[in-house]
Symmetry: C2
């Protein structure tokens, strides 16, 4: 018999079953961490703005900075985060480095987010 402190809502059976289901379906600790890490990247309006620009064209750092009216340094720092999470890729052309979207998950994720906030 369980101790009182370990019980909850007086619903012991449901609790046991829930534990089993969660144990079966909950992703590994590292995957949960990586998922949260990925969504953190989308959780900043500067990075969102960068992504919206890259939806339209391949753009160099200095154009991004000008279009978004931010310093080159701030943009570079954010591009590093986007790069590390494989949301964008880069390509050198002379002195400039051009950035573009890495894949289409970015578009899907942002599209779903927009749908959600539009539905109130």
């Amino acid at each position: 018999m369980q101790k009182k402190e370990e019980m909850c809502c007086e619903a012991l059976e449901i609790h046991e079953e829930l534990l089993k289901i969660v144990d079966d379906t909950m992703p590994e600790e590292t995957e949960l961490y990586d998922l949260a890490e990925l969504f953190k990247v989308f959780g900043d309006s500067t990075r969102i703005r960068i992504l919206f620009v890259l939806f339209e064209a391949e753009v160099c750092v200095c154009d991004l900075a000008q279009v978004l009216n931010m310093t080159q340094s701030a943009i570079s720092h954010q591009l590093k985060i986007l790069r590390q999470n494989r949301l964008v890729k880069s390509r050198r052309e002379g002195k400039s480095i051009f950035y573009s979207l890495a894949d289409d998950h970015v578009r899907t994720i942002i599209a779903q987010g927009r749908e959600h906030i539009r539905e109130d």
Copy 2:
């Protein structure tokens, strides 16, 4: 003629065109802010874990706390954020309050995130 400081990458024409496109397609400031706000909610592994539990069942606060091995207070604080962003809804039943997913965007967004991190 533009001043030198305002130029960039010596590619003036492309820059002008980019400005126009971005001006046409970039969402309003408030939408960008709301989007970032929404993704911030997904950017915490505790909230992600809560959502994974709610993928499987409607669960009361105290069961969530036990299953995730966290304090009731911590869970309640996070549920408030999930509620405020309409990712979960709640229903009272006696002394307990049961939480469930608000809609299916949550599943889609998380599924896309998982796909992204799995593709390296």
